[in-house]
């Protein structure tokens, strides 16, 4: 059973008994094509998509951005703008929705089909309490009286695992956490007992811990509500956890579909195989992490017309002449397994390159540290003063980072992980000097750095570079890309303009781009290419350390693998250290030598990567690991779930900052005393800040891997 608490299952488990005989699929999409005629040109969002959804089944649609996943989902609701030209057919319960009149469509969307969007914050009206928002839906579509609607709202909130529905109905959306908001949105979608639920990336904006609880809820809904669910996601791990059947889309085509276990065990389309190989996965203990394979190139752009060829041919290692002269059809390749490929039986992970081992470790762990961070403290204050510009601060400052110590050795990579609000980015920005520190010291190569980047000398500017999360915003959209590169080279390497241009060309080659493209504007590149240009600028000055703040989070998996490999290659050749900040444990496991787990600005755990990611762990690390989705549907699930958000600390606090959410809290001591830094005797350097003795943690976590002690009980 899941951890989500459902005390009753009211009303919802009475499935609609009406409707056509059970052998008619709920939704049948056949050869769907969607073309948008926009002022900027024609966009073929969907070229050829076919899928069916049956009652009580979760169909996962997966693919990279721009593959037409969401458009297919919208087409299922008949939600396409008038400018879209639709080919093929979409049949809901046997009825072609293109033949429905506008009132019938409205009825369909309100009553029988419901949608959950990515961002819960924009799906809710910020000026209304959430209870009345749901009551409005109920009264509009089900003609319930005020009293019945209120009753039903409470029931629905309870059924989606909101533990205190009486309080939630009275709340405004901003008073709820992201996870709770998404639960409210799901409750609204379920309000009219829909037969088809379309979820478009419903967990993408959420932290892994929250994502895990929402996925539990969806898995549970699948059993209670006799509805079909379309679940759109770019994340294979998420799909593996919730879907029964998976449809893979590429460039607007469905290229493979199969039951979830089948597709992760033996994919029959090279694209699916490639996607799976791009995701960093945990190697067996003691083995080196295999180098990530990546899919070269990027998705065919939607304005290209390709009638008689396989759309994947240009990126496919199996492609032959046949692939570029003839379009493959969807063919059965096994028990309810279809693939759009001429050579399905040749598809194996190895086609994406041999499993070479990632970089040999050349760094010397006993070397003097390159970067030392001592007692770092960063407090944010609103800047408001009691008397406009003067007097004491109006609000106590937010204690974003408190008493953090760590160091990074040359040629090593430190990964910093934590949920949003844990202070990871603040540490990154403080190290490079974008955010001033409040206390403590940062030493680079033995010299103390000034708090603000403007007060540092050019030598430290050159030695310490940063790469940001959003590649599009990292490059000035009005200036050609050579601008940033040449500027860095000229500032730090004292080259003449001509020399700098030549060097910039070399940098472009080093990051796998064409030197001829230096004069182009950033908008002419894809996200992955933009991120590589940003990396090229960071590498321009031969830096000693690069701070990468979620540098691959905004990228598609295949591109993410390219960038991660690039980082690894540069480290081997250029003697550079990284601080790699991410919320993705799989990525951090792949890139890091050491990991620092951060919670509410405090270090929870720190040590060598393998030590941190295996037992014994800090309870917070344990919860993060348990929540992280893995692209393996048969993986054993440990179920430790954290509810709520990282708290914002404004007061000095004597206890453990994690005590409020800790599933292993042992008592008052957690609230009253700061946890001691315990060192794992077997592995020096592995520090856990917890009141529970390390040996005890090890026993606890080893003995009950599945049912992690107490759930986080009271607040469900």
């Amino acid at each position: 059973m899941t951890q989500v608490q459902i005390t009753q299952m009211p009303v919802l488990d009475a499935p609609g008994t009406v409707g056509p005989a059970d052998d008619t699929p709920l939704l049948e999409i056949e050869n769907l094509g969607v073309t948008f005629y926009t002022p900027r040109g024609t966009v073929r969002a969907v070229r050829n998509a076919s899928l069916t959804v049956r009652r009580g089944e979760v169909v996962g649609i997966v693919g990279e951005s721009g593959c037409g996943k969401s458009t297919v989902a919208f087409a299922a609701l008949g939600y396409l703008p008038g400018t879209a030209e639709v080919e093929g057919s979409v049949r809901f319960e046997g009825q072609d929705i293109s033949e429905l009149s506008e009132p019938e469509l409205r009825d369909l969307r309100g009553g029988r089909v419901a949608m959950v969007y990515q961002d819960p914050a924009t799906s809710l009206n910020p000026t209304m309490r959430v209870g009345p928002q749901l009551e409005e839906v109920l009264r509009e579509h089900l003609d319930l009286s005020q009293h019945d609607a209120q009753e039903r709202t409470l029931e629905l909130f309870e059924s989606v695992g909101l533990s205190d529905p009486e309080r939630v109905v009275e709340s405004y959306p901003h008073e709820l956490s992201g996870g709770m908001q998404q639960r409210v949105v799901i409750a609204m979608a379920l309000a009219c007992e829909p037969r088809l639920l379309v979820m478009d990336e419903p967990t993408t904006g959420l932290d892994v811990t929250t994502e895990a609880t929402i996925l539990d809820l969806i898995a549970d809904l699948k059993e209670r509500v006799n509805a079909g669910i379309i679940f759109v996601s770019h994340n294979l791990g998420v799909i593996a956890r919730v879907a029964d059947r998976v449809v893979v889309m590429y460039s607007g085509e469905t290229v493979e579909q199969a039951p979830v276990r089948e597709i992760f065990k033996q994919s029959r389309h090279p694209y699916t195989a490639g996607l799976l190989e791009c995701v960093p996965r945990r190697g067996a203990a003691g083995e080196g992490t295999p180098r990530l394979r990546s899919i070269p190139g990027s998705v065919l752009s939607a304005d290209e017309i390709a009638e008689s060829e396989c759309l994947f041919a240009s990126r496919c290692p199996l492609a032959t002449g046949q692939c570029s002269s003839e379009a493959p059809l969807m063919r059965s390749v096994g028990d309810s397994h279809e693939a759009r490929c001429f050579f399905p039986e040749q598809v194996r992970p190895e086609i994406w390159g041999d499993a070479e081992l990632r970089r040999p470790r050349v760094s010397d762990p006993n070397a003097d540290p390159l970067l030392k961070v001592n007692d770092l403290e960063v407090f944010y204050s609103s800047g408001r003063k009691k008397y406009l510009l003067f007097g004491p601060p109006a609000d106590p400052p937010v204690r974003a980072v408190v008493n953090v110590n760590f160091d990074v050795k040359p040629k090593r990579t430190l990964g910093i992980v934590g949920e949003s609000g844990s202070g990871k980015s603040t540490i990154a920005r403080t190290i490079v000097g974008l955010t001033p520190k409040t206390g403590g010291a940062i030493d680079l190569e033995g010299r103390e750095l000034a708090a603000l980047v403007e007060d540092r000398d050019d030598e430290s500017h050159a030695a310490l570079r940063m790469v940001f999360q959003n590649p599009t915003a990292s490059l000035n959209p009005r200036l050609p890309i050579h601008h940033g590169l040449v500027r860095s080279l000229r500032r730090f390497s004292r080259l003449s303009k001509e020399e700098a241009k030549v060097a910039a060309g070399d940098l472009m080659i080093a990051v796998g781009l064409e030197p001829e493209h230096l004069d182009r504007l950033p908008t002419e590149f894809s996200g992955g290419q933009q991120q590589r240009i940003a990396l090229a600028a960071a590498f321009a000055a031969d830096p000693a350390m690069i701070v990468a703040d979620e540098a691959v989070s905004a990228l598609d998996v295949s591109v993410q693998a390219q960038v991660l490999n690039l980082l690894a290659d540069r480290q081997r050749e250029d003697d550079v250290s990284y601080i790699f900040i991410t919320h993705d444990l799989a990525v951090v496991r792949y890139v890091s030598d050491e990991i620092l787990v951060l919670y509410a600005g405090h270090i929870a755990e720190m040590g060598e990567t393998e030590d941190v990611l295996t037992t014994p762990s800090h309870p917070y690390t344990e919860a993060l690991l348990s929540a992280a989705p893995t692209p393996d549907p048969s993986a054993e699930r440990t179920r430790i779930r954290l509810e709520g958000d990282v708290p914002t600390l404004r007061e000095a606090f004597s206890g453990c900052s994690f005590a409020g959410r800790c599933p292993r809290k042992i008592g008052d001591i957690c609230d009253q005393q700061a946890p001691p830094a315990q060192t794992d005797t077997a592995r020096p350097g592995h520090v856990i800040h917890c009141h529970i003795p390390v040996q005890e943690l090890a026993i606890l976590q080893r003995s009950e891997p599945g049912a992690a002690a107490r759930s986080n009980g009271a607040n469900g």
């Binding site: 900027r40 510009l389 940001f468 990292s474 000035n476 009005r478 500032r491």
Partner: protein
Amino acid sequence: MEASKPIWIWRWARPVRNEIALLLRTPSGRIGLPLIALHLFIAIVGPSLTPYPHTEFHLENRLEGPSLEFLLGTDQFGRDLLSRILSGATSIITMSVLGSTFGIAIGTAIGIASGYKGGIVDEVVMRIMDGFMSFPGLLLALLVATMARELEIPLMSAQFEEKVFIVITIAVVFIPRVARVLRSATLTIKELEFVQSARLRGEPGWYIVFREILPNTAPVLGVEASVRLSYAILLASSLGFLGLGVQPPSPDWGRMINESRQFITTSATFTLVPALAIATLVIGINLVADGLREAHQLPKETPQ
């Protein structure tokens, strides 16, 4: 292909030609562009096309309507209105363009710098701007224009001096308004990663302000320029109407409307002619501005 046309002016003019071609694809552009072209033509060559000297009295033909002899009629002294309109265009257009150019340039520099610097500097600068803005635009203009009149600039003819004062007045009225708009645009842009990358490169503040931020305010600047230019023409005309414009006997469209007021029942054309001249110019600028905005949302001929 491009290299085969080495004349630099040709290459420089290419963006302008592109804009004009785009503009002619929108209805507002097709109306507005000829209006502006006509006014520019008059401003450049108008003074030499006048049928009569603009100060010549025809006392027997006072306050006449349009006729073959006087195409747009005459004023209270029998001066030819067409000649006066033609010779008045140059000053109002140059004064408005110069006034708004200075106003926008200084306002932009202040706005971006203050927004980028932030903190107490920003606070002080913006409170000063608020102080200026607490006067209604026309009142501030009157104040500045009256004070400027007291100044005497050496080596400058009185006629030229008054024009300089009007330019200064327009600029002073515009600076705080432009600064405020550009500051708010800067506040968004300065948080973007490419500005932070520049900071991390150790670039000096002036470089970040002018090289990194300024080009990205282009859309805001474009809107500001069009709004400011049409407002500048209205402001210059209003000053003329109130007697603070170019002094007689030089023709001033605003003052012509004022003079015509008392004769409005006798000769409507006397009022209508300068009023229409101002109105067509302002409408033309607004239409072109709308057209440009529209044109940039139109499909491009070729993708990318």
